[in-house]
């Protein structure tokens, strides 16, 4: 009796949540694929016609924005590694009893809405703002110097908004390094640079990989930062998808573009995970 119960119990527990995920995560993907192959308009409705030309048109119309988004995402990710690694390193090895406090400080931005944080950056970076106007008064920058509207501003926003997602996985990987391994390297006369290069960095790599996944994917599909901090020269694919869905109601084009973006990101992620070893990436990312 009890054994039968133990066999059914996990399924009963899992069922409601799993069904929810299936209906509202998996099924929508199919609905999106189907919608991208339909024709029609918002007034007369849509019919499935298998019109795959939507894809070729969408790609040829918006290839610039797709490529730009991937480039911005890649630059932001590289900058993030450089900024976040030392922070994670210091907290993991020198944070001592204050580790939770430092992590909490790194996570502070999450207590403010994503939109509000980004708008706050616009307030700081605007031409008459607290950063640029003193610099201009001192003559350090020219009259025509702007940050807002440039790719720099957009990438800065992306880096800012996703920094905690890079610090945390690297921290987790570094935290798990046995201090005795580092001591052993020292005992074997490795200098600090060699210890870092041959021992610490390889052990931290799974964390870096996970961090790259957790930042590159959302950064390259983001549309808030380029909308708030950018200009028409920095339009990212997320903005196009958002506008086609919510403003122009061109659902087939919008879902085709979403699908292309998802495929590009998926292929990227899988090749990346294959090259670097899926196991480690999944393990760290699952934390």
């Amino acid at each position: 009796m009890n054994r039968v119960k133990n066999k059914i119990a996990p399924y009963l527990l899992v069922l409601p949540g799993a069904v929810w995920l299936l209906i509202f995560f998996a099924v929508p993907m199919v609905a999106m694929l189907s919608l991208s192959l339909q024709e029609g308009d918002i007034v007369h409705g849509y019919r499935f016609t298998g019109h795959w030309q939507t894809y070729t048109e969408a790609i040829s119309n918006y290839d610039t924005q797709i490529i730009r988004s991937l480039i911005y995402g890649a630059i932001a990710t590289l900058v993030l590694i450089v900024l976040a690694f030392p922070v994670a390193y210091w907290i993991a090895f020198y944070g001592g009893r204050r580790k939770p406090t430092y992590l909490f400080l790194v996570l502070l931005p999450f207590f403010v809405s994503f939109v509000l944080r980004t708008i706050s950056w616009r307030q700081i970076l605007t031409d008459e703002g607290p950063l640029l106007s003193p610099l201009r008064d001192m003559g350090l920058i020219g009259q025509s110097f702007h940050i807002l509207g440039t790719p720099t501003a957009v990438i800065l926003g992306l880096v800012y908004n996703f920094l905690p997602f890079m610090v945390l996985p690297i921290y987790v990987a570094l935290e798990r390094i046995d201090p005795r391994v580092v001591e052993a390297a020292r005992d074997l006369y490795a200098n600090p640079a060699t210890t870092f290069r041959k021992v610490i960095f390889p052990l931290a790599l799974p964390g870096v990989f996970a961090g790259v996944l957790m930042t590159f994917v959302p950064a390259s599909s983001d549309y808030v930062n380029s909308e708030v901090l950018g200009s028409s020269d920095t339009t990212m694919i997320g903005q196009v998808i958002q506008a086609q869905f919510l403003e122009n109601s061109d659902y087939p084009t919008a879902s085709a573009l979403s699908f292309v973006l998802m495929l590009v990101l998926l292929i990227g992620v899988f090749t990346y995970a294959r090259i670097l070893g899926t196991e480690d990436v999944m393990k760290v990312a699952a934390r």
């Binding site: 527990l13 400080l105 207590f111 809405s113 708030v228 869905f245």
Partner: protein, 284 residues
């Protein structure tokens, strides 16, 4: 080359010991400064947001600093549609966090306690929901709702928020269930407690803090969410959506005040949860 391979003489060891502390101070010192610089950079926009809630600006345009005032805290509910948006956000966050708390706890408990067929695919789909770009989730949900002819509003927003929160709750609960000491449950059974009593009197109280943090996390994810919400809202306005709509006509200082209050409440709850768990671990 050979000299470096030799064992260092006692003098060099002593010298190295003398040099070591200095290197310890400069290397980590630099890292320490760097960490604080990054933290300052992370906090800067939050400080600006809080500060401009105290700005004595004449109208809706809250761009340049005029002077210090408390008046926006008194006139917090001056814009009825902003107030409604905030209420909508809070109600959706409460419903979504409780629902995803219940559904996520079921999954987390089952994954932590039992081995069963399909747990692998369940893990995979959870990983997918946590790592999919919000844009894709929002776009696909909108596709589903459009295809099904469902009207968009608070219900569809809540459905979406529950969807992306379940996995986070499940992961938090699973971690707690996995580290749970089964001998405590066995002790309860030895003392004559039935499975039902054992669960509610022993197991549930132990995993309750994890459920609580899961629900808090879901609440935080929901109240701040923008992208998925924008796709599933229709004409409904949540707090972040109202701000987004207001960027073109000027964001009134009340938004900064509400942002500040949400921030303060969030930090308060996080600190309480942290203090509780740390005092507990000390007792253990």
């Amino acid at each position: 080359m050979t000299t470096t391979m030799q064992r260092p003489s006692p003098e060099t060891v002593e010298q190295a010991a003398k040099i070591k502390p200095r290197r310890r101070i400069t290397g980590p010192g630099l890292l320490h400064t760097w960490t604080w610089l990054i933290i300052a950079w992370l906090v800067l926009p939050i400080v600006v947001m809080i500060a401009f809630g105290f700005n004595d600006t004449p109208g809706r345009y809250n761009q340049t600093w005029v002077g210090f005032t408390f008046k926006w805290y008194g006139r917090l509910f001056e814009y009825p549609d902003l107030t409604n948006a905030l209420i909508t956000s809070i109600v959706i966050a409460i419903v979504a966090s409780l629902l995803s708390g219940a559904l996520g706890t079921g999954i987390g408990y089952a994954l932590g306690r039992y081995r069963f067929r399909g747990s692998g695919s369940l893990n995979l789909i959870m990983f997918a929901t946590m790592s999919s770009p919000e844009l894709i989730m929002g776009a696909s949900l909108l596709s589903l709702f459009v295809s099904a002819g469902a009207g968009l509003g608070p219900v569809t927003i809540t459905i979406a928020h529950v969807m992306f929160s379940i996995s986070f709750v499940a992961v938090v609960v699973r971690a707690r269930v996995m580290t749970l000491d089964r001998s405590i449950e066995e002790a309860a059974a030895d003392l004559g407690a039935g499975p039902w009593t054992t669960f509610w009197k022993v197991t549930f109280p132990i995993i309750l803090p994890a459920i609580f943090s899961g629900v808090l996390l879901a609440f935080a994810l929901s109240i701040d969410d923008f992208i998925v919400t924008a796709f599933t809202a229709g004409t409904t306005k949540t707090f972040p959506l109202w701000i987004w709509g207001a960027t073109r006509v000027g964001i009134p200082p009340q938004v900064n005040v509400m942002g500040t209050l949400i921030f303060a409440v969030g930090v308060f709850f996080a600190l309480v949860a942290n203090i509780r768990s740390s005092s507990k671990s000390k007792r253990d």
